[in-house]
Amino acid sequence: MSASAATPQEPTVTQALAADHGLKPDEYQRILDLLGRTPTFTELGIFSAMWNEHCSYKSSKKWLRTLPTEGPQVICGPGENAGVVDIGDGQAVVFKMESHNHPSYIEPYQGAATGVGGILRDVFTMGARPIAAMNALSFGAPDHPKTAHLVRGVVEGIGGYGNCFGVPNIGGEVRFHRSYNGNCLVNAFAAGLAQADRIFYSAASGVGMPVVYLGAKTGRDGVGGATMASAEFDDSIEEKRPTVQVGDPFTEKRLLEACLELMASGAVISIQDMGAAGLTCSAVEMGDKGDLGVRLDLEKVPCREEGMTAYEMMLSESQERMLMVLRPEKEAEARAIFEKWDLDFAVVGETIAEDRFLVMLNGEVKADLPLKALSGEAPEYDRPWVPTPPAAPLGEVPQMDPAEALTRLMGGPNGCSRRWVWEQYDHMVLADTVVRPGSDAGVVRVHGTRKGLAFAADVTPRYCVADPVEGGRQAVAEAFRNLCATGARPLAATDNLNFGNPEKPEIMGQLVGCIEGIGEACRALDMPIVSGNVSLYNETDGQAILPTPTIGAVGLLEDVARAIRMAPAAGDALVLIGE
């Protein structure tokens, strides 16, 4: 029943080792109390993955619960891989936004590319074919020595992945501010189209069902990366470098096609993509949601490298992988689909009745944990926070010739055209792009129908830093307006909350304030939040980024032929609406 002693080459688990895994002393104590023994090395790795900020949302959960997430249009709100919203005629749009900030700062091309890959997987894991993507980017000052390199790498990485995968990237944001000098933000959004009654969820069901590994092979990529994504940067950043992963959009494209075929075949009971700490988080989530245990036999995991340990396999962040619970009678059919697409397909375990996460390698127990406790008992904090004091009134506003002021604004890094960015993205693939980047929101036609979907991503961090509540409201309102401006009826939104270190009460105050403002505006506008992502510890040497709660919003046009573009004709009247 108990896990075997650590094998000789495995380090002994101590509080110091736990600290290296990002677990605070009280969190480690919690593990000891829960198990009644010292965890094995693999178990420590599993806890560190499950209990870090990235997976457990331990600092933000309390506040996220206050967001409005329901509405008659909502089929599935937060908690799954992506949100699902009804668009009529039995169809649904599935979408989410997610950050890949730290990896993109370390290796901009691959960091941004794998961010796009991750968000696309979130969408097609639910049975949706991706139809649109956006990206919201925040970089340091234009003259900072790293900025040009980051901008070039991030934009190429987003393009490199999305263009190859074949999803139109139809909008986003780019901003420059010195607070991002040491910590850029890369927020990637993806949306897909599914049949409303054919959505796939992560909850496993049935005992003794095969757990199947799909996609690319496992390597030592990013071992420790999920921990990195929640750690503040400091000068030791160079040492963390080898944890970068390389994306393979070609494999992802095949994985998409294979998964959609598989889902159509009726073989899938539940499915989950492997993101950060892939095998760990995906297996635990499927078991937890389905009130089942999971047993994994790691020697069956397709590996790219030799001699991988259980610890490494459980924490690997190799991309383009999925975990699925399969209807056993469909195994041959399912395997044939994956073979057709030259992808790995391996039964690596099964669901079990007890509340247990049992990880074996060559018959040896590597981890034996209560499964529900891994997510259910994860720490949750009510971190101290202070409200942001009202901003000091602006000083003397310099007087300037309006025409000159306008030229300055339009020529500045934050006001100039973003054509250089979006021309590197295929924004027309799938031949349904009705409103291209450069307008208020991008619009794609729902293939084969007259309907259209509009997408916008917005936030104004300088408002958020001055007044988080107002800034939160404004981000929602702007996204809402950008949808309306194309003629769309806003449906729902996703949020990507990027903040500094939540252990500082003033940063926590920004988070609390922005969430309050977002919640208020979403309620007032009937635009629920159906998915989202939180990225904290965006700081370098104690300097936090501007609070940046990006809002990605989705709207519906009943007749896409009536979509409005920003292309007035000569002689059109100019009308100002609003206050």
């Binding site: 290796e107 990529d221 470098r241 970068v244 390389v246 393979d248 790219r304």
Partner: protein
């Protein structure tokens, strides 16, 4: 003076290109190809006269531009 820089992915870093090539070779009937890795060569024509100074400069070029040292190794030959 000429210098040649070989840039290869660090071991353990995924090489999707190499994998695709291996697969394609297999499909063309070349069997027994166990592993393929793809890298870059960059050949530089330099004004330097002293090979050691050239090597030092090329090393600096690699660190600053030619190689992505996060995921790549490099190797310099002075010809």
């Amino acid at each position: 003076m000429r210098a040649r820089v070989h840039i290869t992915l660090k071991s353990g870093v995924l090489d999707p290109q190499g994998e695709a090539i291996r697969h394609a070779l297999g499909a063309l009937g070349f069997d027994g190809v166990e592993r393929v890795r793809q890298g870059k060569v960059i050949e530089l024509e330099l004004a330097d006269a002293d090979p050691e100074a050239a090597r030092a400069r090329v090393r600096e070029m690699c660190e600053k531009l030619l190689a992505n040292t996060v995921i790549e190794n490099y190797q310099i030959e002075i010809l």
